[in-house]
Structure formats: C-alpha cells, structure tokens
C-alpha cells in the first residue's frame, strides 16, 4: 500500500553533507504490521519524518500507486503517526477533549454535534475513562498519554499508522497493555502499522515483516519467523544478543568493541565494526542476497 523507493536523506553540517538514509526501499502492505528495528541514530525516525513530509528527501514515496508530492488533508487522513514522546506530542495548553477534537473537526469525521459521543466511544476503545477528557496532558500518566496519542491517531480511521518508539519510557506492565491495545486495534480496524523501535523483542512480537536498519541502510529483511529463527546478518544477531534477558547469563550479552573502527572502502555499512570482516568484503560489491523469496540479507558471509 505504501512504498518507499530509493529514499535518500542527508543533512548539512557546515559544508559537509551527512547522509542519514542511503538508498533505502521499504514496503508496507495492506493490513500488516511492519517492524523497523535498529539502534539509535540509525535513521528510523528520519524515515517516519520523510513519510509525513516534514524533512527534505529524495526518492519516491508511493501511496496506493501514486507518488506523493504534496501532502494534503487526504494524505494525512490515511497516514497518521504516534510520536516517541507522547507528552511532547500533546499541546500542554489544551484539554484532552480539545486535542482529540482537532483531527475530527479538520477531517470532518463526524458532525460537531456528534463529537462528544464519538470521543466517548474513542476513549472506550483505547481503554480510558471518559472523565479524563476534561484534564490537560500534565495531569495524566505516561500510559494514559500514550493511549490519548493512539486515540487521536485512530480517530480518523487511517490506513497506515506510523508508531515511532511507541513504548519508550513506559514500564513493563504498561508496555504490555499498550502492545495489547495495538494488537486489538490492528485486529479491529484493519490498518497497517509501521512500528519503529530499537527493541527487537517488541518488534519480533508484533510484526509480520521486519526490516533491520543500520546507518540508514537495510541490512536484513524478512518475515518475522525468518528474522527471529534464521537471522543471517551479524548486526541482527548482535541486536538480539544485546537485549538483556533474565534467562541468559551476563556473559551472553552481545559485545561490540567500539574501539574497532576500521577504515574500509567496503560499501557494507556494518563493515567498520563487523567481527567477520575480511578482505573479501572490501573486494566485492556487497548487495542484497536472497535467502528465500521473502528473506534478504546484505552480507556475503551468510552463515
């Protein structure tokens, strides 16, 4: 449904041009949860910003077969976003009611008279009490704020929901509630989700298809099972091993020697810190290799 083709984003720093996203392609099919996982600074949020059109980029963003040039009301009605910091995404001066009313009025979802009832149902859907709408964001907890942000996004019945780190800053039990809320809404409303997170466990739990991104390039992509059970790229493995788990010993946590910063001419983004680096990586042009019809990895040393 939404396709990103050859996306390039770069920022200017003085006279230098810093490439943040490098020739990245991504596809969000209908009614799917697509996970985008990578470390901080890998360009995940930049992709989200490029989609909603608040930064300059080159490349194509195609929605339902049409290239998106200027983003009008119709575009935003179909593509909504939840931000990393839910408190920061709600105007502190407005009551929750006013915040929720804004998209409903702008997109003319229901008539002005029907709004109170609509909001009432919306609150029920995201599992909040009605009387909360009188309060301001300052008076709500992190979990409640996240639910409000979700309510605002789904109120317009979008086709795609971009969720940028939706669970960050929430504790475990609230996280679980929000995950369940996502699952429930996704099941009921038939929209696709682009789930952006650094947490492979979360991505692995929710997504149908997973993209692993490193330094603005996709290093591995595949169906959930393929990524979880048959990870090929050393970076994907590193990401998995890096998440601390009660059942693993401390020794098993993945380690990267950050002091190794190879100078290399290889076009593999991971080459500078890869354990398995060899001369071959430098000699060959490293392109995406097919493992199965849905599973691709950008590494010549598939193990």
């Amino acid at each position: 449904m939404l396709e990103i083709k050859n996306l390039n984003v770069s920022f200017k720093k003085g006279n230098k041009k810093i490439r943040v996203i490098n020739d990245l392609s991504l596809n969000i099919p209908e009614n799917n949860i697509v996970g985008l996982v990578g470390e901080s600074g890998s360009g995940k949020s930049t992709i989200a910003k490029a989609i909603i059109g608040v930064i300059n980029y080159s490349g194509k963003i195609i929605f339902r077969g049409e290239k998106i040039e200027n983003r009008d009301l119709n575009f935003y009605k179909n593509i909504q976003m939840i931000f990393q910091n839910s408190y920061g995404s709600l105007n502190p001066r407005l009551s929750i009611k006013k915040i929720l009313e804004e998209p409903i009025l702008n997109f003319k979802i229901v008539s002005r008279k029907a709004i109170p009832n609509f909001i009432k149902n919306l609150m029920k859907e995201v599992g909040l009490k009605e009387d909360i709408v009188q309060r301001t964001p300052e008076e709500l907890s992190g979990g409640q704020l996240q639910r409000i942000a979700i309510a605002r996004a789904i109120s317009v019945n979008p086709k795609i929901l971009i969720a940028d780190e939706p669970m960050s800053g929430l504790d475990m039990s609230i996280k679980a509630q929000i995950v369940n809320l996502f699952m429930k809404l996704h099941g009921e409303k038939n929209f696709s989700i682009l789930l952006i997170s650094h947490d492979l466990n979360l991505i692995g739990f929710l997504s149908d298809y997973i993209y692993v991104i490193f330094k603005g390039e996709i290093v591995e992509r595949g169906k959930r099972e393929e990524i979880l059970l048959n990870k090929k790229h050393p970076y994907t493995r590193l990401l998995f091993e890096s998440s601390p788990s009660t059942w693993k010993g401390k020794e098993s946590i993945g380690k990267v020697d950050i002091n190794i910063k190879r100078k290399t001419t290889s076009n593999c983004p991971f080459a500078t810190i890869c354990e398995n680096f060899s001369k071959k990586c430098e000699r060959e042009n490293i392109e995406e290799r097919k493992i199965s019809s849905t599973h691709f990895v950008r590494c010549i040393k598939t193990i």
């Binding site: 935003y76 931000f83 105007n91 804004e102 702008n106 605002r152």
Partner: protein, 274 residues
Amino acid sequence: MNKKFFQKLRKEKIALFSFIILSFYILIALFANYITPYNPYEMNLSQRLKGPSLSHPFGFDELGRDELSRIIMGTRISISIGLLVVVITFIMGITVGGICAYLGGIFDEILMRATDVLLAMPGILLAIAIVSFLGTGIFNLIFALTVMGWISYARLIRGEVLKIKNQDYVLAAKISGSKTFKIFFRHILRNSIDPAIVQGVLNLGGVIISEASLSFLGLGISPPTPSWGNMLSMARVHLFDAPHLIIFPSIILATLIFSVHFLGEFLEEMFIHR
C-alpha cells in the same frame, strides 16, 4: 487560569497589594473626570503654591490649581499612554517576531538585523528626536515610544517560537490536518506568549516613566493638560518653596511603578518558573 491566578495572588501578599493598587489607579484613570474634587484647569492665583490643607489635601500648584485634581487627571493620561503603548508594541512585536520566527530563514534573518539596527540607538534619545521632529502631542509621543518598544517583544517571542515550533505537538497538529494559521495561533503562539505577557506588565512601568521623562523635558504632554511628568517638570523650580508639588506626584508615580513591577515579577514566577 483565572481561578488559579487569584488563588495564588491571595497567598502572595506583595503581589496582592500591588494588584489592588494597580486596579485602584486604573479605576481612577477611568473615572478621572467624575472624581476630581475641583476643576484641574481652574486657576486661583491667590492660592498659588499653598501647601496641603484639609479642603485641598495635596495643596496648590504655581498657578493656584488644585494639585489633587491635577494628579487624578494626570493618572488618566499617564496610565492610558502606558497601556496604549504597551498594547500596541505587544501586538506589533508578537506578530512580527512570531511570524518571522515561524517562517524562519530569510524572514528571521531580516527581522534580527532590523532589530539589531534599531537596538543600536538608545531608546529615549530616539524618542526625543522623533518628538522634536514631529512636534509634541499625545499621538506623536505614543508613536515615539512604540518605534523602539516592539523590539523587545519581537526578540523575546522569536526565541520562544523557535523553541516551540519544533515540538512534536506542532508536528502532530500538522498531521491532524490543521492549517498553518491555526497551528501558529493555537499551538505555537499559545505556548510561547507567557514571557511576553510578563515583559508587557514589567514594561508598563518603564513606559510610564518614559512618558514622564519626555514630559519633564517638555517634549511629551504639553500644559495645561496635566501628566505626572509635566507636573514634576513644573514643580522642579519650586523644589524648596513648595516641596509638596514634587513629593505627591513622585509618591504616586513610584507606587504605581513598584506595584507594576511586583505584579510583573509575580506573573513571571507564575508563568515561567512554574
């Protein structure tokens, strides 16, 4: 917000007191022509420079006019000029500074350089130059004080808008389908206007003093219309033979400035450091 304001005000004794004084002065200014005990323009040369008495508590000025009545009329002039200048400069500064900062790029650059140029000139001297060029009178005086006045608001609001415009809720408003105009007023301005309001209240005192200074120099309100500044200006030659002409207007001016200042500080505390 109003409820919270009064609740807090009740706890802060100084601010409450200032608020009462300021309201009192504004009431006096509003109803000045009804409450003056005597005609402020009526001269009675036999009473000239006479000190305070029971029937004339503030005494008489050098033309034998009742000082209390003149102070009351002067309150109207001084406060209305103060408020007018503050309101005009506030609106001008907020609009120009806010929009330039929101648009950014070349607009922002132009605004900053323009304000730099204006700031290079000392405010009161520029006002003196303008008034001497255009001639005295209320409107010229207001104009002279406005020319420089808006800059502080524009610069203040610029900083705030630059900070707010990159907040996620501004982005969220865009995604929620709000138009630029609505985003600017509802989301950006509303969250960045507080420091400017505080600045406005604090400036009120400054503007009243500027008006008094210009009138004192003979460049502001011209006699016989009384303003605190020109009353003090007339009184200075009688500093020793009729000190009440200096003392009473000064006390009134000082209490107003103090109360405006304390109230401004209170608002600052409430809005900015909450």
